[in-house]
Structures are given as structure tokens and as C-alpha cells.
């Protein structure tokens, strides 16, 4: 059973709770939830590693100039 968020209950539009995004993640045995979680983890790790790389590159540049 799905629960509706309090705001939709408040507005009385319970039928609107089923948005297209919901449909997408509920299909195919919810496998897209797993995909989404992989995307979250991958993008956060990549974001962090790219930032680390930029910082290291900057330090190396400063060192070579000095």
C-alpha cells in the first residue's frame, strides 16, 4: 500500500499522488530504484574525486611555478 504525503491529503487531491515519475520507478519490479541509487553514488563519488583532482593539480602548478 502506498502512503500519500501529508500535503496531498491536506489538499484532498489524493488522485494526483500518482505522478508519472512514480509510475516510472514502480515498474519492472522497481529495478529503476536500484539504478537511481547507483547513479546517486556514482555521481557523488565522481564529483568528489574530480574536485580532489583539481585541488592536487593546482598544488602541483603552484609548486612548479615557485
Amino acid at each position: 500500500m502506498r502512503k500519500y504525503s501529508w500535503i496531498t491529503l491536506l489538499l484532498g487531491y489524493t488522485a494526483l499522488a500518482q505522478t508519472p515519475v512514480d509510475d516510472f520507478f514502480y515498474q519492472s519490479g522497481k529495478i529503476y530504484v536500484v539504478i537511481a541509487i547507483l547513479v546517486i553514488i556514482f555521481s557523488l563519488i565522481m564529483f568528489y574525486l574530480v574536485r580532489l583532482d583539481k585541488k592536487i593539480t593546482k598544488l602541483e602548478k603552484d609548486r612548479n611555478e615557485a
Partner: protein, 199 residues
């Protein structure tokens, strides 16, 4: 990926066990390393140990954040809500605030030696409280939606033919190693910066 496909509201999302849970494992391992180096710094006063300790806390919170976000997303499509008043969820959120305070504490102290000492002592107390908040308190709670806490059973009881375990142990080890690798990169960067400032 061997895993059962039709476990009630979980359906195929049982596979998230291999991603969401190891985030917390890596986080705890990184915090243990940070704790050990905090104690080492207190006894030696070597600033390398302080860099090690602080870098590992910072990367552990990246993993903690990934654990929270993936957990919230998983909850949306199984429990039907992004967040709920639950011992496990609130314990983890409050626990992470403790380590956010660690950053604030570090940034508020100019002197390196003093910063190291203050944050090592803070870490000394923060870690046990953190473990109580994210593991012991949810387990002792009367009710919880989260598996392995309150009145909800752990996933190990769903894994009847041991298919999940085969992947899960390897995944856990892999994520922990990835965490240690990222944290040691962060440590090397912190050390480079510190040596640059000294010159």
C-alpha cells in the same frame, strides 16, 4: 546478480543491500581509522596523524551522506515516503550532525597544534556517541521500519539460499577499500597543503 525478486514491497530493490549498506560499513571503518589516528596524535603531537584523522572523517561523511540519500530514495519507493520519524533514520541524521560540528570546530581554530588536539579530543567522545546513535539506539527502539532495528527483522533472514551473502560480502569489502583509497588521497592532499604552508 543473484537475488530473490519478489519480496513484498522490496521487489527487485533488495539489490540495494549491496550499495546502501556498504556505504555505512565504509563510513564506520574510516571513522575507526580516524579515531586511532586521533589517539596517536594526542600521544605523539605529530601533525601527520592529525591530517590523517581529519581527512578520514571528511571522507567518511561523504559515505554517510551517500548512505542517507540512497536510504531516503529507497524508502520513497518501498515505504512510500522520503523520510519518516524512525529511530534508525533520526539516529543517523542526528549522528551526522555531530560530525558536522567537528568541521565547524576545526575551522574555528587557527593554531594547527591546538586544532589537532581539540578535534582529537572531540573525536574521542564523538565516535562512541555516534555508534550508539546509529546502531545501538535504533536496535533498542520499540518500533522501526528499518531492517535490523526495533521490531523489524534483518535481511539475513530473507536470504534463505545464501545468494545475497555471496555478493554482499564482496561488495562490502570493495566499498570499504574504495573508501580507504579516497580517504588516503584526501590525506595526501591535506599533507601537501600543510607542508606548502610551512615553507
Amino acid at each position: 546478480m543473484p537475488a530473490p525478486d519478489d519480496i513484498g514491497i522490496l521487489a527487485k530493490t533488495i539489490r540495494n543491500l549491496h550499495y546502501h549498506v556498504p556505504m555505512w560499513f565504509s563510513m564506520i571503518i574510516l571513522l575507526v581509522v580516524s579515531y586511532i589516528y586521533g589517539i596517536k596524535f594526542l600521544s605523539s603531537g605529530n601533525l601527520q596523524h592529525d591530517s590523517m584523522s581529519s581527512s578520514f572523517v571528511k571522507v567518511s561523511m561523504l559515505f554517510g551522506l551517500m548512505g542517507l540519500v540512497t536510504g531516503s530514495f529507497w524508502a520513497r519507493f518501498t515505504w512510500g515516503t522520503w523520510w519518516i520519524e524512525d529511530a534508525k533514520l533520526n539516529g543517523a541524521a542526528i549522528g551526522m550532525l555531530i560530525y558536522i560540528a567537528y568541521y565547524i570546530l576545526r575551522n574555528s581554530i587557527e593554531d594547527e597544534n591546538q586544532r589537532g588536539k581539540f578535534s582529537a579530543v572531540y573525536n574521542l567522545f564523538a565516535f562512541p556517541i555516534y555508534i550508539v546513535l546509529i546502531i545501538i539506539y535504533p536496535r533498542m527502539a520499540e518500533t522501526s521500519l528499518h531492517p535490523a532495528s526495533g521490531d523489524t527483522i534483518a535481511f539475513s533472514s530473507l536470504d534463505l539460499d545464501n545468494d545475497l551473502r555471496k555478493v554482499f560480502y564482496l561488495a562490502g569489502l570493495g566499498w570499504i577499500l574504495l573508501g580507504v583509497w579516497v580517504a588516503s588521497l584526501k590525506y595526501r592532499l591535506t599533507e601537501l597543503k600543510r607542508i606548502d604552508e610551512e615553507i
